[in-house]
């Protein structure tokens, strides 16, 4: 009897491997996503001016620890998924009343202005990261990226890549609701 059980071993190994592959296919897990070390850390030091030719004071560290829950979105006009998620950001601001600020990452001012004029500007404030240094401080390695900052100015969540309704429903909205209490 014990010998016969041994014959099941290859089948079990196959099952485990196949299960792993299946999980990789359907879980939506992104193998390229790098676990963030920024979670639960205070917002990094940065101080950015506004996009050239736009009004507003720009964006700096102190703007993110003023007792409000804030969404920080890295975007650029050259970033295609940014365009795709833009409507969701507008919706979030409109219907959820979220405070959303943007960091315009390595973008020509003219193109960024045209992009915002075309798609709408949901950002309460925008900092222009022309050199990409602020992006490095935030550990950003690909656009778009979205961070959730709590009332104390700590990073609580980071979403790498395009926001979609699924991410909104599953993580972003519950988290915003919890932090907003």
């Amino acid at each position: 009897m014990r010998r016969q059980l041994l014959y099941l071993v290859p089948a079990v190994i196959f099952g485990v491997i196949a299960g792993n592959f299946l999980w990789g296919l359907i879980s939506g897990h992104d193998p390229r996503a790098i676990p963030s070390v920024m979670i639960d850390r205070p917002v990094p030091e940065f101080d950015l001016g506004p996009i050239d030719g736009m009004a507003g004071p720009g964006l700096k560290t102190a703007d993110l620890s003023n007792g409000q829950v804030t969404l920080v979105n890295f975007f650029a006009s050259w970033c295609v998924p940014c365009r795709a998620e833009h409507a969701l950001l507008i919706e979030l601001v409109k219907f959820d009343g979220v405070r959303l600020v943007g960091i315009n990452y390595k973008n020509e001012a003219e193109e960024a202005r045209a992009w915002l004029a075309e798609l709408g500007n949901p950002y309460a404030a925008i900092g222009a990261d022309t050199t990409g240094r602020a992006g490095i401080e935030w550990g950003v390695y690909g656009l778009p990226e979205t961070f959730v900052i709590d009332k104390q100015g700590r990073i609580r969540y980071r979403h790498v890549g395009q926001l979609d309704t699924d991410a909104l429903k599953r993580t972003l909205r519950p988290l915003l609701r919890e932090l907003g209490k």
Binding site: P35, V37, P44, K106, I136, Y141, G142
Partner: protein, 156 residues
């Protein structure tokens, strides 16, 4: 023959890297240090290439940043710590030894030990099996006794 020589010479050629002249430092010692360090830093965009040979925009930014930090007098370890604080251990091609990476460091050795143990077990069992003779079945014993009882040696 000439083809083989050429192929061999090509094999020896050092990879050029993606470092552009405008990124390089004037101080050759610092520049050499920066080059060596950039080969240990993973490009986060391409993920299997060091920033030294990556053409990604972020890799270029990081190369320049590394040089700035070095000019400011930071040691190699300072620069690494700076990058790890922002991007995590992932930026290092050589992962540090700590509890969360023990599986990575000791896992292969553990698998090897398990294998050695398995092989040992297999041979120990095989040896035991070949040394203990299989006892005769009752039929065989009966036949043996019949043969021994019959001095003629013939089977009837």
């Amino acid at each position: 023959m000439r083809v083989f020589l050429l192929a061999f010479a090509l094999m020896l050629a050092a990879p050029a890297g993606a470092v552009e002249p405008d990124e390089m430092l004037d101080d050759p010692v610092l520049e050499a240090r920066a080059r060596a360090l950039s080969q240990e830093i993973r490009c986060l965009v391409c993920q299997n290439e060091p920033i030294d040979s990556s053409n990604a925009d972020l890799a270029r930014d990081l190369r320049i940043l590394i040089r700035e930090l070095m000019v400011d007098g930071n040691s190699d370890d300072d620069v690494k710590a700076f990058l790890v604080a922002r991007f995590g251990d992932y930026v290092l091609f050589d992962p540090p030894m700590k509890p969360s990476t023990y599986a990575l460091w000791f896992g292969p050795a553990l698998v090897l030990l398990l294998g050695v143990f398995g092989v040992f077990l297999f041979f120990a069992r095989a040896r035991r099996a070949s040394h203990t003779p299989v006892p005769l079945s009752s039929e065989e014993r009966a036949r043996l006794e019949r043969l021994l009882d019959d001095p003629g040696g013939g089977e009837t």
